[in-house]
């Protein structure tokens, strides 16, 4: 396994659980034991929860999994990987190198601009989120919204800047995105949509963020959360097909004996659509599918229903299925506050179900995906 995040670790663990006998080696660039990323923008960033380890050293050795931390893989041949500390030969290789934050393509001062992907990033960011300091979060996707919410809960003055018309619009559509903007505003976040960032001001440290409409938002710190790019740089000369991820077939195979799982994997669904997911559940499910294919020697098409969640303030936002731009959305409030469920449909067929603090209600509708909307009770 190249990459010791969720995808790599879960593949290794599942190989053992399914009875794989040969040596299992995990190569990871990060210095620490493998840990879970979702808490890094939530309770972990607020300092309320210690890191959640994906596996401890005793667990790994009991399972017969060899983990090399601090080892960066530099290149791949059909039999060998070359790393920053020697080569390793393989019979089966699983690519699980995840993704890295996209950088803002504007000049920026050396201090005060942050991204959030690793435990080290979260530890650094936590130290500067002092109550009363001014933070601008660039990008109101899942990650940016969570960082804004957590920083706000720490008493930070937060401005959330988004070039699109509403937070999380790509995932949830405009209607729910606007409701979410209202939630953030009610918590005291200055939400500014429809204007991209043109410059970050400051010589040695950040002083402000300049928007396309000419306004300048003063800031002590900036978090850039404008998406992630799959980490395929080390595969440039491998002969594998790369196109916003490692291109795989229906069973997550990139080449004979080479597989990809998690954020780095672009696979073709059984519906013929090419996809890449950046969600926790998908990384775990793909890891289990690949481990099963390796142990059984029988690759089968990967099938799973997309499932994601996000914690923002008192709300747990969940989404099941594959919503798309232009879907019809039917929203049902579940109380006088913010709780709701929403059914997305395309040409009368249910494409997704989302909820604000309504995980149970959303999951109970999983049988409705792909069915006519008329069959779903309101």
């Amino acid at each position: 396994m190249v990459g010791a995040g969720l995808g790599g670790v879960r593949t290794a663990q599942t190989l053992r659980r399914l009875g794989h006998r040969g040596p299992v080696t995990l190569l990871g660039a990060e210095p620490s034991l493998p840990y879970d990323r979702p808490p890094l923008s939530k309770a972990g960033l607020a300092g309320e929860r210690p890191p959640v380890w994906l596996a401890t050293s005793p667990e790994l050795s009991a399972a017969g999994i060899v983990l090399h931390t601090g080892v960066t893989v530099l290149s791949l041949s059909p039999t060998t990987v070359t790393t920053s500390s020697g080569s390793f030969s393989y019979d089966q290789l699983v690519i699980a190198t995840g993704a890295e934050p996209r950088r803002l393509p504007v000049p920026q001062p050396p201090h005060g601009v942050h991204v959030l992907r690793t435990l080290a990033d979260a530890t650094r960011l936590r130290q500067v989120l002092a109550a009363g300091s001014r933070l601008v979060v660039v990008g109101a996707g899942v990650l940016g919204c969570e960082v804004a919410a957590t920083a706000r809960s720490l008493g930070v003055e937060v401005t959330l800047v988004e070039a699109d018309t509403a937070p999380m619009r790509r995932l949830l559509g405009a209607g729910l995105g606007e409701r979410l903007a209202a939630v953030h505003r009610a918590q005291g976040v200055d939400v500014r949509c429809g204007s991209g960032v043109t410059a970050i001001r400051g010589d040695s440290a950040v002083t402000g963020v300049e928007l396309a409409d000419g306004t300048v938002v003063p800031a002590d710190n900036v978090v850039v959360a404008i998406g992630a790019v799959p980490r395929t740089d080390w595969l440039r000369d491998s002969g594998l097909t790369l196109a916003d991820g490692v291109v795989c077939d229906e069973s997550l195979r990139a080449a004979p004996n080479v597989w990809a799982v998690g954020d780095v994997c672009r696979w073709t669904g059984t519906d013929g659509v090419s996809r890449r997911s950046e969600h926790w559940t998908n990384a775990g499910n793909q890891a289990e599918a690949v481990a099963a294919a390796i142990v059984s020697g029988r690759p089968t098409p990967y099938e799973s229903v997309p499932w994601m969640w996000s914690d923002q303030y008192h709300l747990k936002i969940t989404c099941l299925g594959d919503p798309a731009d232009g879907d019809d959305v039917r929203v049902t409030p579940l109380d006088d506050g913010d709780r709701l469920k929403a059914v997305f449909s395309r040409a009368g067929i249910v494409s997704a179900v989302a909820g604000f603090s309504a995980g149970g209600a959303v999951l109970r509708l999983r049988g409705a995906l792909g069915k006519p909307l008329t069959e779903v009770a309101a």
Binding site: R10, Q13, T14, R17, D36, P38, V52, W280, T281, G284, N285, E288, V305, W307, W309, D311, K316, T318, S357, A358, G359, G360, V362, L363, R364, R366
Partner: protein
Amino acid sequence: MKVAVDQELCDGYGNCVMNAPEAFDLDDNDKAIVIADEVPDGDGAVERAVVGCPFNAISTH
């Protein structure tokens, strides 16, 4: 075997319901609850729910 969810650890992410809907549900407070008194030993879906819980809140005995 029997399945239990530690309600203190559970954060309601619902992965267990996705993995093993016959054994788990989420209640109105978004906490996982066990809905099967007994599941078959080595039940693959429940095993996936155990490892697929982000907070290791599920145990079997």
